[in-house]
Symmetry: C2
Subunit: 134 residues, 2 copies
């Protein structure tokens, strides 16, 4: 999530950012991050180009995507559909004791993530990129 915000911020103006820069920018191990970004790249959340002047970037289309796409790419859909207690049987027709309570909360999380686009953070981040460090 933080790396995506970082890339979004740095490349809103069309350029690319290398993995070392991202790594130090968000204070996360380089090779570990690489793996995650490779995955996000395959899933189309971020884009990348190899070679000199290459790096990761995001275009207008990807910047317009909701945060829920990122969460889904990383954690899968179960956050939005699974049971709050992690029970397999639990469903709308066969609810667990906390089903309804969790449903309301989950819907709210989903709404929040669907209504916010990745690109929307760029203004906030101008207060200082440090804000993405741990």
């Amino acid at each position: 999530m933080r790396s995506v915000f970082f890339i979004a911020h740095r490349t809103a103006s069309g350029n690319r950012v290398g993995i070392k820069e991202i790594s130090s920018g968000i204070d996360s191990p380089e090779h570990f991050l690489a793996k995650i970004l490779q995955d996000l790249s395959r899933k189309g959340i971020v884009q990348s180009i190899k070679g000199p002047n290459g790096g990761f970037y995001m275009d207008a289309t990807t910047l317009a995507r909701p945060l829920s796409d990122v969460v889904e790419a990383v954690d899968g859909k179960s956050l939005f559909t699974g049971c709050g207690l992690g029970l397999e049987y639990c469903s709308e027709t066969n609810p667990c004791p906390l089903h309804e309570e969790f449903k309301g909360i989950r819907n709210r999380i989903q709404q929040m993530l669907q209504q916010t686009t990745i690109g929307e953070f760029n203004e906030d981040l101008n207060l200082g990129i440090t804000k993405l460090k741990k």
Copy 2:
């Protein structure tokens, strides 16, 4: 959580329930559960007595506790206080990009867990204890 509901349900009438019974009742490995319950017992969420006719139980006081106490005993307080993105620096005065959004959601979760007591599930569970299996 499921084991606590199970114990609550089985001992509302004053008797005790052994770990084998809980284990098969909620479909969870016996020794693994034992460890968890030992911890919950030390923290006062459930009570126990050794020897024949011993087992785990809960009295009126523990049944009246909110679910938030169980969550806190198992996962610690960070669920209620930590940053939604897991950032260390993030706080009320130095918020991360999603701070406010997460705060609202977290408050709702906390409210839900604080307003519901462990004992409240017993009626629901009379629809069939199977509901606590995976």
